[in-house]
Amino acid sequence: MTTALGPAEEAVVDAGDGWRRLSPRMLAVHPVMELRRLIFPLVAVLIGLRNDDGGDGGWWALGIGGIGIALGFLRYFTTSFRITPVYVQVRRGLFRRRTLTVPRDRIRTVDVTSNVLHRIFGLARVTVGTGQTDKKNDGVKLDGLSAAAAENLHRELLHRPAVEPIPGVDPATRSQPAEAASETLLAALHPAWIRYGPFTLSGLVTIGVLFGIGSRLVNESHIDLAKISVVHDSIDYLRDRPLPVAILLVAAAVVVFTAIASTVGYVLAFWNFRLSRHSSGTLHVRRGLLTARNTTIEERRLRGVELSEPLLLRAVRGARVLAIATGLRVGRGADRGGSVLLPPAPRAVAADVAGTVIGDAGPLAVALTRHGARAGLRRFTRAATVSTILILIVLAFVLLAGARWWAFWTALTLLPLGALLALDRARSLGHALTADWLVSRHGSLVRRRYVLRTDAVIGWNMTTSLFQRRVGLTTLVATTAGGRQRYSILDVPDAEAIRVARAAVPGLLEQFLAD
């Protein structure tokens, strides 16, 4: 049995008016979107048609395309939405009519996106985030409002006159009507920041995606890669070189391509970036060259910030800032999800912006308490264990499967590399507790400093493995409703873990752990 304890959320089924439609211009966009989803079967069928000379491949392509276009049209006619003072409702589906109802006070974020196609027709997509932790449910997504309507909806949903007190906002500014609200610019893209582009490695993702698309096309259309002259010639060229030279050449090509792709990716994602604070208690992030993205985060949903420094970016003294807010899940990569508060930028700027966003520069600058030699040693033993296992696997291949010995000698370099990584990981470890903020830092390949408001901590998990207990260390995890859901302080001495947990949330732990 499940007992729901939140406020009642029964669906209001009201046959009354107020239902709105998407923009009719979407009739031009939806079919193209559907076609784009069907692009692989279509291309495969068309190529098959060309290779087979005739057959009924053409009819298949036409049929698939026709279904796609019909589906696109249907989406316009079957989707409608309305906004009542209490709810936002979306109706969609032809055979399975669904009405999705979201209470308005549960709305955490409003995200307005328009890709190239949208922009040609002056349209936008509005996504309303409700902070559901359920990954499958994508909530309210209205694809295809006119840009003006999207802007209106955005304002309607978030800039309502505040009915409940907003922590951190002066009561005098709160009572102002939405029209008189003003906007303060907190950060804007400086063209010089694009120099951090090559160090973001987002280009690796591009390579992966291109490789994926390429291999899928090759598979579905049965092209023999070796017959394409460019591929053929370059493989031949590499085959003539000695192996180390060939590896170096490939590596250099990957590095150059990654750097270019990462820079292009940076510009595409963050061009026109602006972070501003609206006096009605919201943060706005606007960014994107081709796909314009406009994210709004309610400040009363903001639980903290995350300063993230991937290794390469750290080497050139750069960092980026993410928001920790309920309703925003942290996705993979820099620009998935709407939680980006600052693209890769100089570290000083990042710390400054993060401090301004949370209204307290202290937690970003505060000296961190170290976790001690035992915690550092654990980094080394773990790195050594992983390297040793990998080396033994390689050794097994050499002895049993007849791999070359140089593979084993190369694998041996994992030990010093692992030690360097461990050293850096040990140096990253730290935590601090200021008046309102819990700060934790760890990681090497991506070093992150989490700054979480202590009243956003909704529980503690303290885990100890057998090895941790032998040296008296605990991993303290603060659970929260936003961002990554869990923010951990790795390998702190037991007494310190209890001290931090007690001081951050008074009156909770004392009842159970009386030491």
Partner: protein
Amino acid sequence: MHRVSPRALWYWVAKAAVLWVVLLVPQVIWWFADSDGAGLPHLIIGVAWLVLAAVHLAVMPQWRYRVHRWEATDTAVYTQTGWLSQERRIAPISRVQTVDSERGPIEQLFKLANVTVTTASAAGPIKIDGLAAKDADQLVADLTTRVGRTTGDAT
């Protein structure tokens, strides 16, 4: 601080036994598929299976029973679970979203139930395993009334 029901010992034994039997299945299939091969590899893996299963079944439930604790006060819920790796979880009542009680087939066999308390964080569910069924019902009733008294959206 409460211990779980002593019947939970047998519940953990039964659960682990199911796992070990499942692990036995591929070995038996392999044995039959490769009946003409040498017997030694089968014997080694079989003995390893037997030893590991025996040690696990003998040690794990006792160890767990010594570790597992739970308590629900007016303001918070606390659990302590695990054996090799142990975990303590605390959540304030004011942040609880749902209280959920479940009785799986093996649990019904031993007249046990578990209670899961979730918060708004995906990392925060607190699961109390191996409660006597009537204790579980009582706990759910208590928690529900306590949570009902709190206000706010618990994020």
